[in-house]
Amino acid sequence: MSEFDQLYREVILDHYRNPRGHGVLEHPDAVAEGQNPLCGDEISITLAFDGDTISDVRFEGRGCAISQAATSMLTELVVGRDAAEVARLPKEELLEEIGIPLTPVRLKCALLGLGVLKVALNKGKGTPLPEEWSSSDDLSFR
């Protein structure tokens, strides 16, 4: 398999070109956004809850194929799941879904959306912010 096909495998390109969960919820229960100042990737996420369950999630953003595709995959991964459980979602679960070898620089692209989602959960449900996001020097969230 060529280097291109390894990184930009078909499912990544599909999510990049046709992102799932793209858009903004009109009446969100929680909102967060984040940036990766290294490359200028931006992601904003709106969330809706049904009780403690994530009933809907939408994202908008500008950035590289990896950051946008990863966030698109993330939305499919978390809808219908318990907010507290997703707040503890190990990054490995998303990385497994992405399923491609990532260099340290691209890893930050891939995990930006997950960070923003966890910040939104923190705002909406008071779930704890994992250490890796609150102390990250490279990514910024609000």
Partner: protein, 414 residues
């Protein structure tokens, strides 16, 4: 009519001086088009540093043994080379720093904290690298001075017509701009800005990090008050740069870093400062790095800065022509006549990170990102650009490889 002939530079021959350019990746050398971030190093510099570390290395200035004397001579000899390189009136006006960023911080802190206050204006350009933007914004905030930017036009050139309006808003005390923009390659009209700054009674601070590797620098002709350069962008090692400052200003300024070597006398009651340039050089300096810096200056001077500038001008013209053939590429920046060897561009609909990743697989190294110029990215309405930059060892075939790589990017992700 006097005609000064500028010797033509033989990039193919010069490439043999650079060990990295001989290395192969998938059977071909990498087309290294990221010299604006940092340049590759020639054997002449590497050998000078190895030789110095092997035979002449000791701490400088106070040792009485012969080795320390040799080390001191080499270190101070490098200072003389830097002074000559920027045409400084005296080498005592040359302060070794870690890089241009530290040199600019030195001025912002040591001059700014004592000379700025409410009602004063600090003026920088919208094009500025963060290194000549953030320190001034910060020191203005610390002192109560106001911070203003000179906007650029659509071509990425400074709009000097706003200067009169800025001057009406307060007392302009500092004007700080780069000589060459690291993102767009714009060559700024520093002489004009200097004249305006001095009319206002302001100091003129020039970031020449992106200019010094590529064109002759003459602080007396520019007329500025401070000028900062970094060795690592000009074939020298990382970890050393220099600040040139006008002697009367440096004499008046308080020190920046404090510690060993920068003092005259120290008692529990009072400490007095050493003479220039040592007042600004606390602690053991970048000794071998300075020696490498001197060797880099010798190397560039032997080629000729005029020849380097001309070579890069031809490459830039070629690159802009080739990129203009691709209607899905948007380039940024001024016409080639007022541009150094830097081309920033975007590929329609494809983020620079993806562009650079695919180009890497094609053996083409360029940079994608905001290039430490976020205010400029904001002005251009983009989050990032791709940037190809050229140097004395760049050859046109590398630009062809860039274009071929971009075709592949477009085919794969477009």
């Amino acid at each position: 009519m006097a005609v000064t002939a500028i010797a033509k530079l033989d990039a193919e021959r010069l490439r043999a001086d650079f060990p990295y350019l001989e290395e192969l990746q998938n059977g071909v050398p990498v087309a290294f088009l990221d010299s604006a971030a940092s340049s590759q190093k020639p054997r002449q510099v590497l050998d000078a540093m190895t030789d110095f570390y092997s035979h002449s290395y000791a701490n400088v200035h106070r040792g009485v043994y012969r080795l320390a004397e040799r080390a001191t001579d080499a270190y101070e000899g490098a200072r003389v080379k830097v002074a000559e390189f920027v045409n400084a009136p005296s080498e005592r006006e040359v302060i070794f720093t870690r890089q241009a960023t530290e040199a600019l911080n030195l001025v912002a802190y040591a001059w700014g904290l004592d000379n700025l206050g409410p009602g004063d204006l600090v003026v920088v350009s919208e094009l500025e690298h963060h290194s000549n933007f953030v320190p001034w914004q910060y020191i203005a905030g610390r002192t109560g001075a106001e911070f203003r930017t000179i906007p650029i036009d659509e071509a990425g050139e400074l709009q000097l017509e706003v200067l009169a309006g800025i001057a009406a808003e307060g007392q302009v005390k500092v004007v700080a701009t780069g000589l060459v923009s690291n993102t767009l390659g714009t060559v700024n009209p520093v002489e004009k800005l200097t004249a305006w700054a001095h009319e206002q009674g302001a100091i003129m601070v020039v970031d020449a990090a992106q200019a010094a590797p590529h064109r002759p620098i003459d602080v007396q002709a520019l007329g500025c008050d401070f000028l900062a350069i970094s060795a690592h962008k000009m074939c020298g090692p990382s970890g050393v740069g220099a600040l040139w400052g006008r002697r009367e200003l440096l004499e008046q300024m308080s020190p920046f870093n404090l510690g060993g070597h920068m003092i005259r006398t120290v008692t529990a009651v009072e400490t007095t400062w050493g003479q220039l340039p040592y007042k600004f050089e606390a602690g053991t300096g970048p000794i071998a790095e300075a020696v490498g810096f001197g060797a880099a200056i010798d190397y560039l001077s032997s080629i000729g800065l005029d020849a380097i500038e001309r070579h890069e001008h031809e490459l830039t013209e070629y690159a802009l022509t080739r990129l203009a053939e691709l209607d899905w590429i948007e380039t940024y920046g001024p016409p080639v006549a007022r541009r150094a060897g830097i081309v920033s561009f975007n590929v329609d609909g494809i983020h620079p990170h993806d562009v650079c990743q695919i180009l890497d697989w094609e053996g083409v190294a360029i940079r994608g990102g905001h290039h430490c110029t976020q205010p400029l990215m904001h002005r251009l309405g983009v989050i990032a650009t791709n940037r190809a930059s050229f140097y004395l060892y760049t050859v046109p075939e590398e630009i062809d490889r860039l274009v071929a790589g971009l075709e592949k990017v477009k085919k794969s992700l477009g």
